[in-house]
Symmetry: C2
Subunit: 342 residues, 2 copies
Amino acid sequence: MQLDDRKLKILQAIIHNYLETGEPVGSRTISKYTDLNLSSATIRNEMADLEELGYIIQPHTSAGRIPSDKGYRLYVDTMLKDKTSEVEYMKELFIEKADKLDSLLKQVAKLLAVNTNYASLVTKPQYRSKKVKFIQLTEVEADNLLAIIVLEGNIVKNKMISIAEVIDKEFLLKLNIVFNTFLQGLDLAEINMAIIQKMKEQAGTYGNLVSNILDAIAQAISEEEEVEIYTSGATNILKYPELNDRDKITELIGTFEEQEQLTEFMNKTEGADSGKIQVYIGSETAVKAMKDCSVVTATYEIEDGVYGKIGIIGPKRMDYEKVVSTLHTLMVQLDDLFRKKT
Amino acid sequence: MQLDDRKLKILQAIIHNYLETGEPVGSRTISKYTDLNLSSATIRNEMADLEELGYIIQPHTSAGRIPSDKGYRLYVDTMLKDKTSEVEYMKELFIEKADKLDSLLKQVAKLLAVNTNYASLVTKPQYRSKKVKFIQLTEVEADNLLAIIVLEGNIVKNKMISIAEVIDKEFLLKLNIVFNTFLQGLDLAEINMAIIQKMKEQAGTYGNLVSNILDAIAQAISEEEEVEIYTSGATNILKYPELNDRDKITELIGTFEEQEQLTEFMNKTEGADSGKIQVYIGSETAVKAMKDCSVVTATYEIEDGVYGKIGIIGPKRMDYEKVVSTLHTLMVQLDDLFRKKT
DNA sequence: TGTTAGCACTCACTTGAATAGAGTGCTAAT
DNA sequence: ATTAGCACTCTATTCAAGTGAGTGCTAACA
């Protein structure tokens, strides 16, 4: 059996209707709703076919049909093809000039959630090549050094280092030069024993101190290795009756709180192709708690090669068009924002 | 009418039973449960009195009684008096030596939630007097300065400053000295126009730059003005049927997500007296969404005068004893941890 | 005078049957 | 190929009756 034009139209009508109502839709509804001018009986036959083809499901005998994951998939795919980029700038979108990336992203998450009425999440971009750009050691107190490490992309890390021996100002200057000349442009993997040895030699009697400082630097660089993720609007999920089941809610809100699974999922998400919007339906997400949800993600680019993700989590019957266009808009704006800043 | 000894015993029995079951408790139960050897009829009379006194409530005729807020209050107060400090170290408590305060506190929140099966929250301590200890300006790139500000308590802030004009190394050194001599030991409020004027004079033609840098410093100091708050285990709340109502849940989880109200509440919480444990029952919290919950908070001390709060949110019928002792233990451990470190 | 037994009464909750309603599948007619 | 019509299925709602926990009150008792 083939999915001919008429079947497709009926399928779309079913999905459309279901997106609105959240109720299984029956043959009579379709018969009236569409301009196909077919009787409910005919629709019923077609629906039986569509069910056999796996696009729709009957929750129980004598109920209408609801879209299956496969059905949603088809719908989303064709929709995405049609509506490539009908970008309409959100008027309400007003991003306070926030200097801290963190708070900007938190705002974005909130914005998304409020605008769509679904749950949203935003990942903080990973600077994967963490090359050292600049290091500075400063004496804050007699027994406390402050190490400041600037990484590529102007990420600034800092770390206090307690020292036993009082350190001579002259020597601190020298130490600074040593660290900078040896480590500049390298990332964590490239700092090997040979380099460390050479540095220790230069430091003479202070060799021990060098180790300590190197440790601190290594720690500072590698911390926050895990992607940070910001979420908002988790409670929006409670609005949709099909998800409103004690256990489901517990699981869902739980995953939102824990974030681990979300992070993992967002990492797996394809994103090589910046600007592409992806839709994951039901079990396509591979997160058990979200098997009754759909997730739409988009990738934004802070600078070349540095990506973050923004996403929406909602019921399967979410308003895909709106979500996709909202995400698209926001993604473009984020891209712009960062482009301008650099 | 007076609350005599027998009435008190009955009240305690009622509360005790209700804490366990979550069901209204009837006279017969008490008659059997206690060692008072009273018939249910007598208990009934006493219960009628207790109700008149406002300690217990009857949800509807022909239901048992449940404690009122006033009843809980009494219970908690006497209990706290009795069990001052029966501290039992949690064996599972294993705090990874985390250098970042943030992740430590996140762990604490989680620990609390897991241990008690309620929702938990932890506020990050506020360093209220933010005096400048040390400032350093460094040239990272030709058009980018990095300002590092160390505040009292070794809080390090940093900020990138884009500059138009290339700056001379000599002068940068001088600028550093100027900033340090003028600003050291001052907090935001103490940096007044007179000081700023003097600094500009010293800077000569670079006066403009000084303004920019001061702006950046001011921003860096005042950012994160809002108390940060970490929460965990919000889903635990779903476990208790008396809170398991759609609207209540939405509200509760919502306040947990938004955090604003929580922050506000935790701020209002009394805490001058470090080590004191406070219990807020029902509407005592003044957060509408939490009117059916109780909150228990404790104050920990990072260093002299720097306090943070840890707290538990649960149903009114929470296991107060356990919660109080858990909080106490953790509070003491946190105190120790920081004391040792300094 | 405080305590207790007993009884009538109340009220929420459960159960089960009846009913309505939505929707299907199939058959026969067009 | 399409449609009308009918029997059938299954869910959800409604309603009545029954159950049981618990109370309040009264009268008897120590």
